[in-house]
């Protein structure tokens, strides 16, 4: 089986769908001839022609509006928002339109679009190339939100997202495009090729939306994470010497509540990790749900380890990023609690 990094895996997913389904087309800023600023669409225009994969004007709202119209026609557009930090001009189209079209038309019109966007920090991108926007979408009924953490999942989830009949926000943790990242920024970068999940089949397969993965079984504490933070959580658990059960949520909405609840009921402790600002982040919803579903099993307060409630500051990248030191401290606190 070929070894792929996350960019190659995403590219392969798009390739598979362009090949399989003439109703799939791709557009976004710089995605055509150039292949995207992160190279996710590289080679696709050449292979499938300009009408299948093309550049769009710098108008995220226009991009999503056009995709909704195409979806209503019957196509399956996949659009790229160059950085998640730039998704806000499309917010109205996503929230008021894509999310509600099926509902308000009683199923008569649908918007089966996939919105791909690189997100998250850790690349010295400053406050406008680092944001984690997932909670702004998890609050919106009608949208699905998906975040992969490995090449294998990235490809399988992206194919599932494109084939899904509902609009999907597909956030790609750009820090781990080229290799997993355990939060130890001071150490040399590891390539994906050393990670088992870089073995990615060439053809079509899916990783179903709405299913979490228990990426490490453990008895003492449940760690809920997604994207880059899955790797940070795994490394932190190992370093802390805590027998943590680490769950990669993979899909935030719809959430795999069963896996979450089974784990916390078993461990009685829960640490939630995300890079987004804390207040009203998705961790708040996870905390509320765990509390609601597992109250009588909890032996310690649920902890949230998150980005601070500030913009992502350029010079303080590693003070902002919820790295191993903070995750380990939280693991230790809940174990004492």
């Amino acid at each position: 089986m070929p070894t792929m990094n996350m960019i190659q895996a995403l590219n392969s997913a798009l390739d598979v769908k362009l090949n399989d389904d003439p109703n799939v087309l791709i557009f976004g800023e710089d995605v055509g001839y150039f292949g995207g600023v992160f190279r996710v669409t590289e080679g696709l225009q050449k292979k499938y022609g300009a009408t299948r994969c093309f550049d769009a004007p710098i108008a995220e709202g226009g991009i999503v509006a056009a995709a909704i119209g195409m979806g209503a026609y019957g196509l399956r557009p996949v659009v790229e928002i160059q950085f998640a930090d730039y998704i806000y001009p499309a917010y109205d189209q996503l929230v008021s339109e894509a999310a509600r079209l099926r509902y308000r038309s009683a199923g008569d019109f649908t918007a089966p679009l996939t919105v791909r966007s690189p997100y998250g920090g850790g690349i010295f991108g400053g406050q406008t190339h680092s944001q984690s926007v997932e909670a702004l979408f998890t609050h919106v009924a009608g949208l699905k939100t998906v975040i992969p953490s490995t090449p294998y999942d990235a490809k399988g989830l992206l194919i599932a997202a494109i084939e899904d009949d509902d609009p999907v926000i597909f956030l790609e943790p750009k820090r781990i495009y080229n290799g997993p990242f355990d939060g130890h920024h001071e150490r040399p970068v590891q390539p994906w090729s050393k990670h088992p999940a870089s073995e990615v089949p060439e053809g079509r397969y899916t990783v179903p939306l709405g299913q979490a993965a228990v990426v490490r079984e453990g008895a003492d504490v449940t760690v809920l994470a997604y994207g880059t933070m899955v790797h940070v959580a795994l490394a932190s658990a190992a370093e802390a010497g805590v027998d943590a059960e680490v769950i990669d949520l993979r899909t935030l909405i719809p959430l795999d509540i069963e896996t979450v609840q089974a784990s916390v009921k078993k461990t009685g402790r829960c640490v939630i990790v995300h890079e987004a600002t804390r207040t009203s982040g998705f961790g708040a919803e996870l905390s509320a749900l765990v509390q609601e579903h597992c109250f009588f099993h909890l032996e310690a307060p649920i902890e949230r380890v998150t980005g601070w409630d500030t913009p992502y500051p350029h010079a303080f990248e590693w003070d902002y990023f919820p790295g191993p030191a903070r995750v380990i401290a939280a693991l230790r606190r809940v174990m004492e609690g």
Binding site: G62, A65, G69, Y73, E97, R104
Partner: protein, 417 residues
């Protein structure tokens, strides 16, 4: 170190902030004297292959066909068979009767909200007739005439307005936010302007598939200020999308006169120029002019020549909605003074002028339409009005997603429905 050249003397004028004002407010006389109207028939009709750059002037004039005597004059006369005209007249009369009745129903407490298109019927109905049935329309809440002209059942519109058990939208939408894929009527959003870029996307999809269907979108002059308007024009221009981008300039956006949207500084049609799109400015109360302009734009679109912007110059004869009272912000007799008259009267006059219609026939038509509305209303009300009848409350949780996720299933249980 600062350049000395940067420190020159300054213009003596003190700046002041300009706030646009309309010609009149309640108590003032209605004043439309600033409106310059070219003569009917005066504006040339270029071939559809014309370069947009060669017809920029058409964005600043007004395409008119019907003259004061009801004659059709000039190159834009679509030369339609009398039967088509009579159908158009019927659709307009029926739409007005429907509006009047549903407005009354709201006043009677039978529903929460209603919006009329009185005075603007030609905008939707002539367009519907100039388009093919399967072209996709992306309307605002003021193009109910499209549904009427395409033969959608009045009673289904009423079910929607009443959110009753037969509401095709299952009680989920505000009254008048119709939707029908079958009738090529895209789901109306409460959010202004959003449909404009979606129409362009639909048209791009049609072109992508090598289809022959085109899209048509409508937007109010007030809503042209939204970013969606700009996005739509950009995408339509860049990808030469087969779409007709209609701007319905009915002079008002709720209480705000057109100047708040920029209407005192240029025409709305002229917005198209900067995108290299052909732009026509059309008498929106002239059924023949609307038909002809739509047909021209549709032919261009179908010939792979791309999008056309059409400003339909008209007047919102009544309140914005049942929540509005226009006497609070505009002169009372504006409606009567509107220089372009009423679209129904003008088409009627034309039909009479060409000997294809009579006052008696018109009376009969009005009676027939009133009766059609009455019959439909009876049927709708036999199902029920808002609150008396409604779809199953289960419907609240359906169609959020294609398949209901666990959290909605649980909430539905919690709701006990």
């Amino acid at each position: 170190m600062v350049d000395t050249a940067l420190k020159r003397g300054r213009n003596a004028v003190v700046l002041s902030l300009h706030i646009p004002e309309p010609e009149g407010r309640p108590g003032d006389p209605a004043d439309f004297s600033k409106i310059k109207l070219p003569e009917p028939g005066e504006v040339r009709r270029p071939p559809i292959e014309v370069e947009p750059a060669e017809i920029r002037d058409l964005a600043f004039t007004l395409i008119r066909v019907l003259d004061r005597e009801g004659r059709a004059v000039g190159p834009w006369d679509p030369r339609l068979p009398a039967e088509t005209l009579r159908q158009g007249l019927r659709h307009m009369v029926l739409t007005r009767a429907y509006d009047d009745r549903m407005y009354r129903a709201q006043r009677q407490g039978k529903t929460s909200f209603y919006m009329k298109c009185t005075g603007e019927e030609a905008v939707a109905i002539a367009a519907a007739q100039a388009l093919e049935f399967d072209d996709m329309c992306f309307p605002t809440y003021r193009q109910q005439g499209l549904l009427v002209a395409r033969g959608y059942a009045l009673v289904d519109m009423m079910h929607q307005v009443y959110s009753n058990a037969r509401d095709p939208l299952k009680g989920r939408q505000l009254p008048i936010m119709y939707s029908s894929r079958q009738f090529g009527f895209f789901s109306i959003s409460g959010n202004l302007g959003t449909q404009y870029g979606q129409a362009v996307g639909w048209a791009m999809a049609s072109a992508y598939k090598g289809d022959s269907r085109i899209a048509a979108a409508w937007i109010g002059e007030g809503a042209t200020a939204e970013g969606d308007f700009h996005n739509a024009l950009t995408f339509a221009s860049v990808y030469r999308a087969p779409v007709i981008l209609n701007i319905v300039n009915n002079q008002y956006a709720i209480s705000a006169f057109h100047g708040i949207a920029g209407g005192q500084r240029s025409t709305f049609a002229s917005r198209g120029i900067g995108y290299g799109l052909p732009a026509l400015r059309v008498d929106g109360n002239d059924y023949l002019a609307v038909y002809a302009a739509t047909a021209w734009a549709a032919e261009r679109a179908r010939s792979n020549l791309g999008a056309t912007v059409i400003e339909l110059y008209t007047y919102r004869a009544e309140g914005h909605s049942t929540s509005d009272d226009p006497s609070r912000y505009r002169p009372q007799e504006e409606r009567e003074r509107w220089p372009l008259g009423d679209p129904i009267n003008r088409l009627k006059q034309h039909l009479i002028a060409i000997g294809a219609w009579s006052e008696a026939q018109h009376k009969a038509l009005e009676a027939e339409c009133a009766e059609a509305v009455r019959a439909a209303l009876k049927e709708a009300e036999s199902v029920g009005t808002l609150g008396q009848s409604r779809p199953s409350a289960k419907e609240m949780f359906e169609d959020v997603y294609k398949e209901m996720p666990w959290h909605l299933r649980r909430q539905r249980q919690e709701a006990g429905v």
